[in-house]
Every structure is written in structure tokens, then in C-alpha cells.
Subunit: 342 residues, 2 copies
Amino acid sequence: MKSEGGTHRAVTMRDVAQAAGVSVSTVSHVVNDTGARIGAEARERVRRAIEDLGYRPNAMAKNLVKGGSRFVGLVADAIASTPFAGQIIHGAQDEAWQHGYVLLVANTEGNEAAEASAISMMLEHKVRGVLYSTWYHRAVDLPAGLTEADTVLVNCFSADGSTPAVVPDERSGGREAARLLLEQGHRRIAFLNTRTPSPARDGRLEGYREALGAAGLPFDLDLVADVRPDQEGGYAAVDKVLAMRATGVFCHNDRVAMGLYDGLREHGLRVPDDLSVVGFDNQEVIAAHLRPTLSTVALPHYELGRRGVRVLLGLEAPEGAAPLAVNCPPVPRSSITRPSES
Amino acid sequence: MKSEGGTHRAVTMRDVAQAAGVSVSTVSHVVNDTGARIGAEARERVRRAIEDLGYRPNAMAKNLVKGGSRFVGLVADAIASTPFAGQIIHGAQDEAWQHGYVLLVANTEGNEAAEASAISMMLEHKVRGVLYSTWYHRAVDLPAGLTEADTVLVNCFSADGSTPAVVPDERSGGREAARLLLEQGHRRIAFLNTRTPSPARDGRLEGYREALGAAGLPFDLDLVADVRPDQEGGYAAVDKVLAMRATGVFCHNDRVAMGLYDGLREHGLRVPDDLSVVGFDNQEVIAAHLRPTLSTVALPHYELGRRGVRVLLGLEAPEGAAPLAVNCPPVPRSSITRPSES
């Protein structure tokens, strides 16, 4: 659905894609001459659509000549309540500045009215495009206003794949988490996953399975439990984990690991001697300061922001309709040891 | 010290203040007609300086008529590493939007080159003024570029009081923390303060003393210890705290309290039954999810950002050269109980 555009409505990459019958990333490849292999016919359709619609990929150049400004907008939904949005901003700003763009940041704290004003403010300032970001990885419906601007989704994606997106590679992250334990010789590895349906839940579980498979271990549903994804969920799962007789536990996030630590302590058990633990997120204030410090896998928020700007500026492009998936690197600390022989 | 201004250098409120021999906040009161009591003579000196220097408090109005934009800049030093900067941004944005201004946010992560580019970018965009903020409360030297723009310091202040500033009222916060314990009948209250010299260290100690005094209790230096202001510091202080035979402990921040919880647990002791604990900061991911949840005092970052914009726009002004001090409200949770009779 398009919103009603007035006479000032700029033609976007999405319009070109629709007219040419190709994906937005194909248009981006053609416009920015990335060297990606695009069939001659599709390339020609894109060129014709650009001409027909009067799309100007370098519209801001006019403004520049007049001494105007070059903006990239960033809409974030939880600057005040998580450290994650800040890392997306940091990465986006570094990359935007490097290319002479100023980042216009708007925080919505999930409020739709704030979001709508933020987007119209950005359109009024003739942004080169907008990064629309969420603090946790999920599917989103694109706000109506954003159909009028080139948009890249950051840490989120549209269900129909119609908008370029940059997301964490949850599956690779799940693999890395399991590998941290496998490498130390663990063979019976529990997974405290979140009970909230989400790409993180599915992807991390898939990665965990893959890593077990690659190590020649069977996938055992009895070793997987779904918990509330916070400290309370980890604390409440202690008895369940102990009953699994695992030597290592992969927790859906660092907060679950923090709660699990507390519960284990109350049972007189020690991390890692009695149980090795791996988290996810690398939320510094927790992971780097638990006792012992928590081995975990980092969510690449800085990199998501940076790559989002690169996609927006046409410096790189997702392949086809799938989001660009950014690796989640392992962060080993002190919560894993070799399992005792028993 | 003034930076060398070119022909484009705008006259600032600071220039007017200097020429008139009054404080910046006096100029702000006169310019914005706040109704504050300013002597007729000072008022006249300000008016004359405004005329002599050609100061235009409503310079942006010109831009507005031309359809240009109205910006307020916000420089933050740690968006990516703490949740605090995000709360300042949130408050500043809400207030700026309410008055038709767009917030231009720049993150420096403490990097001087990034700070200098951020400030010149803001000046190029003819910001109405700049909020210069730090993630922890401290004295700062104003960056050279900011002498060219109206500036309000947020969560920081200039040692000479020459720039309007909005800071947390650490003393009232210290009082509130001690009161949370006093109200439950505690009489022997330890204070694990930070060993880092800072306004937070001095102010919270003063507040703690005042609250004890108001309750008719003597100040006892043996009940105060300086620790590293994080989990490690709190954990390492357990023996010291137990030796103090206090029934309640006020921790410099929530992170210290989190470490103390761990240490107490390893001694087989329980919060709050064996020891009541109060934190400071209200860092949600910790305070709201420790076991038991942590009673604490909130740092008012949202309010600091909001009031910073209000001061910048002349909607309120600090009295004299002292920073505007914003209250730190208590946040009672479950880590305090009445001391057992013994």
C-alpha cells in the first residue's frame, strides 16, 4: 500500500523496483553499479523505469551545490531502555560521517505518533534515506511514511522481503555458542531457549542443532527448555537444568545466564566447575561482570548500524530478497571449563 | 578562552554576558523575558550589549521563514556503552519536538576528533544551540567549537560556572538512599562509596551525612568505605561490610550492590533478612532483576535532557552560576526490611 503522496513526493528505489518488476536490491545494484551479476534484461527494465519515473539517486547533490545538507535518518525504538539502540546509532553514525552524511536520529520508544512525526521530520529534511531499526530482531510492518523514502531495515525485516534489511545471523550465533562448549569437550549440552516466538529463538536453536550435528552428536529434545528470557527465567530453570544432567548450558541471553548463576549458587554449585555456562548478547554490564565473567556471543549492533548505512548508500546490497545477515562473534570469558570425567 | 572566529561567527549569549558583565543565565532571563527578578541596571546593560554586538536570539526565525530547519544539537559521549546517554536523548528529544525543534544527535564515544566534527557539523546546520552531555556527572572543559554556539551542559558543568548546566542533585540522592533505610528503622547504616573522586562521591556522602543527622544519628567514619564502583568492588567489600556490623548498606551504585549480593550469598547470607541493601542509578537491567529486586535511587537522565533543552530555549534558567540541580527520586523495591532486634 502506498500512502497518498503530494506533489513533493520523491520517487524512491521502491517505485523503480515495482515499475521494473524487480527487487529493491536489484535496483540498488544497477543504480550503484556494484558489479553484481544482474541479467541484461532486468538491468534494462530498471534503466527504463528510472527514466520513466524520473528517479534521481543523487538527488541530494543538488542540495549540496546549494550548500544544503546531506542527511541519513535513523529511527530507533528503544534508545532509552536498552544499550542496543546506542550501538546501532554508533555504527550508523561512523559510516554516515565517513561518506559526508549527517545522521538524524529519532527515538520513538515504540510510540506510533512519535514514529510518524519522526518520519515526516526526516522527509521534510530531505534525507537520503531512512534506517528503521528495532532493539530486538523481529518482523515489522513498514510505517506508511517510509514508502516515500529509500529505507533499510536494521535488526528487523519485512515479512514479504520487499525492503532491504540487515539482521544478525542468529543461526551462526547459535552455532558459535554451542561450539564454545563443544571445543572444551562438552558432549551433553543443554539449551535454555526463550519461550517468545522470534527469529532469535528459531535461529539460535537451528545453530545449536547444526553445531551438535557437525560434532557427531544427536539432537536431544530433552536437553532443550523454553524459559522467560530474563533473569527470572534463568533462575526458575535451575532444577530443570540439573535434571538434564548436562555439563554445559547455552542460555538464550546473558540475562538468563545471570539468573541461572544465582540459582546455581543457592544450590551450592559453582560455574564453571559444576556447570559451564554460555550466554548470548554480550550485554557488557552483565557479561563482563558476573562472577565468573560470562562467555557469550555478541549481537553485532554496531555492525548492523554500519552495514545498514552501507546498504542505504548502495555500497553493498543484500543478495535477492533475503536480509543481509551479520555474524555474531563468540566472546570467550571464564564461565566454561572442561567437563569433569564421570 | 575564545576560539578564533571568522566572519561567520555568530554572536552568542556568552558574548553578551561578557560584554554586559553578567552571567549567561541573567542574559537568558532578559532575552526570554522569564519574569525573573533582574535589577534594572543589569537589564539595561544586557540590552545595550545585545544591541552593540548584534546578538539575534531569534536568528532561526529567518531560516524558518525560508522553510529552513530548526535544530538543537546534542553531543553525547557514550551512546553505545551505557543506557544513560539514551535516556538523555529521549528527554531532550521530547522537549525539543514539543517546541518545534529537531534534535541533531552526535555520539563521540569520548573521541576528541569525533567531538570536533560533531560540533562543526552542528554549527554548519545553524543549530539554535548545543547540549553537551557526559554519561557520568563531572566537570568538563568546554570544547573550543562550542564558544560559537549557545551551550547548555547536561550531566556535567564547567569549573568556572561560565556555562549554564543541568546536573543531578547528588546530595538529595544520597539523602533519599539513606532515608530508604532509616524509614525502615535502620540505625547502623554503612556506605560503600566510590573511590573515584567525583561530584557523585562528594554529593552522595554529604546527603548520607545529612540524612543521618536529621534522624539524630552521628556520622561514623568507620561505617564508610571507598570501593571500586562496579560489581568487583562490591564483591570485594563483603568482609569489610560484615565487620562494620551494619544492618543496612547504601551502595554507591547498582553495580556495587550486585557484587555485594554475590559475596553475601557466598557467605550464606540473605538480602534483606541478614542485610538490607540500597543501590543508586536505577540501572533497570540490574536493579529490577536482582534477587531480591534492588531498592535504589534513580539518576534522572531523562529529566536532565528535558531540562537541558528548556534552559537552552530560555524556558527556565539556573539561578546564578550554580548548575540547575535535578532531584534523584527513590525507587523502593525488595532489598530492604526492618532490622531484626538484636
